[in-house]
């Protein structure tokens, strides 16, 4: 079984690393909520994913931003279809 073969560009790598580095702190501030991050700055914790996404479009416009559920352990999405080419 292959592991962590990437199909992404480096977009949002900074935010992803920032989230991982601060995951424990975020767990104390907003466990189970959705955090909005741009660069290395937190712009709030939101009850739902789309609350955070709507806030991001309002604040930043149509640019990459990072909305991620704050959980202790990352749970990967599951896509078992044979149509997926990775």
């Amino acid at each position: 079984m292959k592991t962590r073969k990437s199909v992404t560009s480096k977009v949002l790598e900074v935010e992803g690393r920032f989230f991982e580095t601060n995951r424990d702190r975020f767990m104390k501030e907003g466990a189970g909520k959705f955090v909005l991050i741009k660069g290395r700055k937190v712009y709030g914790f939101f009850e739902t994913k789309f609350d955070a996404i709507d806030a991001a479009y309002e604040r930043f416009g149509n640019v990459p931003f990072f909305v991620h559920k704050v959980t202790e352990i990352e749970e990967p999405l599951q896509v078992v279809s044979y149509l997926v080419g990775v």
């Binding site: 990437s6 949002l12 996404i53 709507d54 479009y57 599951q78 279809s81 990775v86």
Partner: protein, 138 residues
């Protein structure tokens, strides 16, 4: 409850495909209404996918920027990083579903999108195999 009824020549052989339109999930961008640009896609309803999947290249074609960096397990890969996008799927009869979708290569002709359980979580799906019919009720 309103419903989308889908009929097929051979549901077992072909799977439950549906013609959708895809657009950004943004309602407003910096206080202005988001542009209404959308593209038609052929999607396959896939109960094996926990999330909706877009074929590689479609988000950039539509100008939709990533809204998250997620990790995906597939049949052959574990913990693969990929981008997640906020989208609106417009189903037949105009039903609009806001959700997020990951971007992955789809190695098949004619399928641009897998509709995952994130969309099915927002409706009732009735699979009538004996009638080659699928009904999505919202």
């Amino acid at each position: 409850m309103a419903a989308v009824s889908l009929k097929y020549p051979d549901l077992q052989a072909d799977g439950a495909t549906v013609e959708v339109r895809l657009a950004t999930a943004a309602k407003t961008i910096k206080g202005k209404p988001a542009s209404g640009r959308s593209v038609p896609l052929t999607a396959l309803i896939d109960t094996g996918a926990s999330t909706t999947v877009l074929k590689l290249g479609i988000p950039s074609f539509l100008g939709i920027r990533p809204a998250n960096r997620a990790y995906v397990n597939t049949a052959s890969t574990q913990g693969m990083p990929c981008h997640e996008f906020a989208i609106s799927l417009i189903l037949p009869q105009g039903f609009k579903v806001r959700t997020t979708a990951v971007e992955l290569p789809l190695h098949t002709q004619g399928i641009d999108c897998l509709i995952g359980r994130d969309v099915l979580a927002q409706c009732v799906m009735t699979y009538v195999g004996s009638e080659n019919q699928v009904i999505l009720s919202f």
